[in-house]
Symmetry: C3
């Protein structure tokens, strides 16, 4: 099973076969985290650079642990200390890193398309770890790994994604991946948080009210309200948002009896999700995190083990 692309930039262009191949590969890496010795020599002698132009601990740590468990040399570069503060252009920075002969660049940047631009520029493999509100493919893939533990991810499955869809790269990557696999996706958000461009995707249904989105659904994915990014207020108040869109016990009862609850984290407890639901038996939120390491090991392995050898 080989992933034939040079880079993993998004889920939008992935075929169903490619997605299934990535998920299967992640399955085989899950077992490693349960070993006493969580290390395989798969990427020994490979250099993985985590190039984060936006602050992140969670995703960076997940990639760093994944790289180290594959025996790669992991190097962290963050924007705050980088030459960018000296006014260097992004492409010059990237050219410089490429000149140090890394094998894989894991890139997060606040601009849409940053990872794509970098991938075109460099010989190293590029993994998009989030570009603005565009894509965050490893998050969507780890979400699918998690769904697969409970459901058959394909036609017949219905997933509700509720929250700030318009500004969420997590939502976008999930929508592309899920609809490609034939999953029905219902999205629900306040009008100010609803993207326009998604209207005509086959399999995508826009719901006005969360009750409608949740009705009989198999998977509920709540999105984080990015309180820290709201330069303008997209809803009257946090309390109003929680009251109308937040996932509580009563609303969750509208979903299928065996529905699972997901959240990409970090959660705003009491805003988009109550603690009762977040800590309840249907939540698989921490499984998402565990599967993240396995999925990222799979991605790094499929990219890094190919081509350079």
């Amino acid at each position: 099973m080989v992933f034939e692309r040079k880079d993993l930039l998004g889920t939008r262009d992935l075929s169903a076969i490619e997605i299934r191949s990535l998920l299967e590969s992640a399955e085989s890496f899950k077992e490693i985290a349960e070993r006493p010795l969580k290390k395989v020599p798969a990427l020994r002698g490979k250099t993985v650079v985590n190039l984060f132009f936006e602050p992140s601990t969670r995703t960076r740590t997940s990639f760093e642990i994944a790289a180290k468990r594959l025996s790669a040399d992991a190097v962290n570069m963050s924007a705050s200390t980088s030459s960018l503060v000296k006014g260097e252009s992004l492409l010059d920075t990237v050219d410089n890193i490429q000149a140090m002969a890394p094998d894989i660049l894991v890139v997060r940047h606040r601009f849409v398309g940053a990872a794509h631009m970098i991938a075109e520029r460099v010989g190293a493999r590029v993994v998009n770890a989030g570009d603005g509100a565009n894509e965050h493919p490893t998050q969507a893939l780890l979400d699918l790994v998690t769904m697969s533990e409970h459901k058959r991810v394909g036609p017949g499955l219905t997933v509700a994604i509720i929250g700030d869809i318009a500004h969420s790269r997590v939502a976008r990557s999930n929508i592309w991946a899920l609809t490609t696999l034939g999953v029905t996706v219902r999205i629900c958000a306040p009008p100010t948080m609803l993207p326009r461009e998604l209207d005509k995707i086959p399999g995508l249904i826009v719901c006005e009210r969360p009750e409608e989105a949740l009705d009989g659904v198999d998977v509920v994915m709540m999105l984080r309200i990015q309180l820290e990014r709201q330069d303008r207020l997209l809803f009257p108040s946090i309390r109003d948002y929680a009251r109308v869109f937040g996932l509580n016990r009563q609303r969750l009862d509208l979903a299928a009896e065996d529905a699972i609850v997901m959240h990409p984290g970090p959660m705003n407890r009491g805003v988009e999700i109550t603690s009762e639901v977040a800590d309840g038996s249907r939540a698989v939120i921490l499984n998402q995190v565990s599967n993240g390491v396995a999925l990222r090991m799979a991605v790094l392995f499929l990219l890094g083990g190919q081509g350079h050898e």
Copy 2:
């Protein structure tokens, strides 16, 4: 020699046997730092996460070097870049890290009991690298390793700890460990820096004046005046503090002829200790640092080599 606890959270609950076991183990790791190749495969395939919610280079570096010399994968996470800035709760952050299957978490946090709370929550082993003014057990243990190089650490030994006892986790962890081993501990501080709760510990003597504390003592441990933490002034002026409580040559002459001088660092030269004393032949301050790496290797080894295998 196996340390039977899941975590190392403090010295308060340790038995004399446990403390002696840790010190002996540290002895065996001292030798590794003197080898040309300072590396053993003891923790290969284990993940050690340094989770520092307070800034620290010294302690973090000591743990990182210890972990790497044991061949563990060491990952640094600091609060400034963590999800905490996005408003996530400490327990959610910790649950997330646990979901990545680390073996050992080394935790520093400004709140008393933070490491204990985390240890109860996670399956990973936890080492408290400082929780507020409560405990900093590896510092106390490395201090004991250092004392052992010069003295028999047990009944008959007298240690003076001078400085801001009330706000010092180093003092607290030393007091518990030393008194457990039967060592007599004299503490001395300005009244505003004297804790109340310590009065009735057997073997602990509160001295009003440093001259009294130093009289014939075997070990002098000076504490750092945390100038950067003093939101309210606990003494009239730094100059007054240095004059009354600082360790200079004359005061040191009151101690036993072969007394050793310790300081957990970083020192404020000219405040709690003069340069003459800090750089003098009786100072073992840098030995403390060296022994810190060995002691931390021992702790990581005893915790990480157990249970998961």
Copy 3:
């Protein structure tokens, strides 16, 4: 081929034989970056500490990658998080690091002579990664490695260095190294950016106008205008600087037909160099970066493989 010094602090004191020995060694490490597995066990069990008191990503990353490809344990310490913020002296910080038994310290500091002071103090090998406006020897050596790919670096070669010579450690280290090898060096800068102390170096020619410096030259090295460091303005305006001193196509035509163009980076495009030239066929700017990793592997290997074994 063994480098007999304890430290690499500058190029000023290096003999021609020592410089050639370092360049040859770098040649042998170049090949490693082109292997599928870019790792050799040369420094396994050695600890390399990157001690950066000035922000740097580029140089720090280059050293970190070099250390990891040699299988050393690489530990990063930066000033912003270090004990220096708690008021500790530089020497106390350094004594503490030495107590943790590192093998090599890579030091960057804004004060001239900082690395020298540290090297005298510690048993560990020290590599100066930049001390104020004084020296940055690995940069000069990687520049020489790059020149060697195109020219015979010795008598008969002429190199023009244009820009803020007075404040440039890159210029200084290049001038010492090049003139030691018998290369003719022409320097050119606005009067406010011309150092005084260099006047009488054999082989060094001060040119008033860039046209004079460029005339028939084999190598053109443009220096970065450190816009962020200019507390006082050293020229009327950036536009004026670019117009009079910037390297553009027309000016480059004054150089030898096969002249190469170098820049230590990060570049201010449109200031000291136009994009046309920077991205042109004569530019070897990214080769400098690639050679940087190889040269630093050579330096770490020559220092770390010696003495401690």
